[in-house]
């Protein structure tokens, strides 16, 4: 399916996860290669969120192995995932409305000033604001006022800020959970454009989405989960919406319907 060559950024083998009697994931093999945008699709309850949580270290897998850039790794908490270079942007964004763009971007990893002022935790606002400006410019995200509260911004701008925030740690893999849910047409276009730019800059991107139009717009590969199992792994260029929908619903799984 995937042309060989580069080592996958992330590779999962035989991953299973259950919550009590519920088998959320069964024996899933999954990989993301550098500079590749992979869309993870599936119906509600198909295990998309669980897979993301396994990758982000929120729920470690019960079984299976995980390799990051060819190295066998164990991820037992969100901090482990971040340390490896996996940045996750959650659906509910996790931005503080009362803080401005710079403050949100650097939240929890503020730069302190050099010298004695830094030892008491004095912030280096100028360098943080400068770096924020550069980062956003790099991503072609236009926000006029970096010191405007995030709460006053549109959903699309907020999503872009959240994604930019995940890039500050220079991650290898960016995981986006439903980045276009609840966005209007124009704002969705902005976010999709941003995802393409992430790819251009060499980031591997994993996008969870319900919206197949969006998926076909940005993804190189479409990975379908159904009832916790892999139900399809398509190259976006040689599949179509019908085929993917078939895999999601299970219609094409038994082979009889088309």
């Amino acid at each position: 399916m995937n042309a060989t060559g580069s080592t996958p950024v992330l590779s999962l083998k035989g991953v299973s996860k259950s919550f009590g009697p519920v088998q959320a994931l069964s024996d899933v093999d999954f990989e993301v290669r550098p500079g590749e945008v992979v869309a993870l699709v599936g119906d509600n309850g198909a295990g998309k969120s669980t897979l993301v949580k396994v990758i982000a270290g929120i729920h470690p897998a019960d079984e299976g192995s995980m390799q990051f850039e060819g190295q066998e790794v164990t991820v037992n908490g969100p901090a482990d995932a971040v340390a490896l270079g996996i940045a996750t942007v959650y659906q509910d964004l996790a931005l503080s409305d009362n803080l401005d763009v710079v403050e949100n971007l650097y939240l929890g990893r503020e730069k302190v000033a050099d010298g004695p002022a830094g030892t008491v935790g004095q912030l280096d606002e100028v360098s943080m604001e400068k770096r924020t400006g550069e980062l956003l410019e790099n991503l072609a995200v236009t926000i006029t006022d970096l010191r405007a509260e995030v709460g006053t911004m549109s959903g699309g701008q907020r999503q872009q800020v959240a994604i930019a925030r995940s890039l500050l740690g220079e991650p290898k893999l960016v995981v986006l959970d439903e980045p276009t849910a609840a966005l209007g047409v124009r704002q969705t276009a902005q976010v999709l454009a941003l995802i393409k730019r992430l790819k251009e800059q060499g980031h591997a991107v994993l996008v969870i989405s319900h919206n197949l139009a969006d998926v076909f717009e940005v993804a190189d590969r479409i990975f379908v989960l159904r009832l916790g199992r892999e139900a399809g792994d398509f190259a976006a260029s040689d599949t179509n919406q019908e085929q993917v929908v078939g895999a999601i619903t299970g219609a094409s799984g038994n082979g009889g319907n088309r």
Binding site: D97, L99, A193
Partner: protein
């Protein structure tokens, strides 16, 4: 999708930078200016009814009266920034003042040690309340309500049978009864202006040097000018009476210190983050509970400091120290000045401005010989009015921001 780039730019909104600046000025600085205007109106009303209100002796008294409640309010502001509340600050101020008074006057401790012990008692209480609040996830409202009920009992216990401890120690009474000479007053005032101007101009220069947006020089100079006039008038009035009081320096000093902590340090940033969205702060790796416990420790310590200033002014600690409306005034002040009850919005300066509003009302009505019934109702009315105005302003700001 080829048009994506253009679409992105569209979203930046065609707003001229100057208009944007005016909007920010209204949303930001003018919120404080609104309180200053309110104070001007209140003063004008009292002046018309009783010209003695604006005499230098009365204004000096006003400064001394607002110190205790202002110090307590500083801690309250920090707690409000977290989106929490501390109902125990009044009770804690009474208890800690009692501990200080007994140690100094009955146990013969040195005044410095006694004051330190009083404040340390506040810190420990804050640690306890903050820990219960975070460990057991009990609402801060309830934890501190328990404190509000319990600490006055401890206060009675500490004060002993007589229920009153008089304070004779000159160091303690001197906290609110020390006035500096005219010369010292002017030097302090001018130094403050010079330092403020230097910092403001240097910060702007640094931003300009790095190619970041900076406030126009004119606006900055106007602000420096306003501060200069305010400081000079204050010093002039105070010098006309007994001179610059130590109490004023203590209050402004604490405000400056906590202003620095809240707006310029990582810890301060985390306070705002926790108050704005605790879950986001947690995910960003901030130790939310640690921030909360420390803020409750600061709040109780500042309550202790306020209680000690109140004791110094009253020359005694008794059963009613820290009781009555002290707590509500300490919370109402910052809210009147614009600190949000819902967390994440506010400023340490609101403690000072709010205390000024509340003390002005109380002082002015006293001067006219009004009953306390009137005092309570007027203060309550002002609080309600302030909160309503703030709610309207916030709605407008949101409407403007969303465009």
């Amino acid at each position: 999708m080829t048009a994506a780039g253009a679409t992105v730019e569209d979203d930046a909104e065609e707003r001229s930078p100057t208009l944007d600046l005016v909007r920010r000025f209204i949303a930001g600085d003018l919120a404080e200016l609104r309180v200053v205007l309110a104070i001007a109106v209140i003063w004008a009303i009292f002046y018309v009814q009783e010209p003695r209100f604006l005499s230098s002796i009365n204004l000096s008294n006003l400064v001394l009266q607002m110190t205790a409640v202002g110090l307590v309010s500083i801690g309250v502001v920090l707690v409000l920034l977290l989106g929490e509340i501390d109902l125990s600050v009044g009770a804690v101020s009474g208890l800690c003042a009692a501990i200080m008074a007994v140690l100094i006057e009955k146990e013969g401790w040195s005044p410095y040690l006694g004051i330190a012990a009083g404040i340390a008692a506040g810190t420990v209480i804050g640690l306890f309340q903050g820990s219960v609040f975070t460990r057991f996830a009990v609402p801060s409202f309830v934890v501190t309500l328990a404190g509000l009920l319990a600490w006055p009992g401890a206060q009675l216990e500490v004060l002993g049978e007589t229920g009153t401890v008089n304070i004779n120690d000159p160091k303690v009474t001197g906290l609110t009864n020390t006035f500096y000479s005219d010369m010292v007053g002017w030097i302090v005032g001018l130094a403050a202006i010079a330092i403020y101007a230097a910092f403001a101009l240097r910060a702007r220069q640094k931003r300009v040097g790095e190619g970041l947006s900076a406030p126009p020089l004119g606006l900055l100079l106007m602000r420096i000018g306003l501060v200069t006039v305010a400081v000079l008038v204050a010093i002039w009035v105070l010098n006309d009476d007994r001179g610059l009081p130590l109490a004023a320096l203590i209050l402004v000093g604490f405000c400056l210190f906590f202003f620095y902590i809240t707006t310029r340090t990582r810890f301060g940033r985390h306070i705002f983050a926790v108050g704005g969205n605790a879950e986001a702060a947690r995910r960003a790796g901030i130790n939310v509970n640690r921030v909360r416990v420390i803020v409750f420790m600061i709040a109780s310590s500042m309550a202790a400091a306020g209680g000690i200033m109140a004791a110094s002014r009253l020359l005694a600690v008794n059963q009613s120290s820290g009781a009555g409306d002290f707590l509500l005034l300490a919370i109402a002040g910052p809210v009147i000045a614009g600190t949000s009850l819902f967390g994440g919005r506010g400023s340490v300066w609101h403690a000072l401005l709010g205390a000024l509003v509340i003390t002005s009302i109380s002082n002015g009505l006293d001067l006219q010989g009004r009953e306390s019934s009137v005092k309570f109702m007027v203060t309550g009315g002002v609080l309600l009015l302030a909160v309503v105005i703030d709610a309207i302003a916030r709605r407008q700001r949101q409407a403007a921001g969303r465009v």
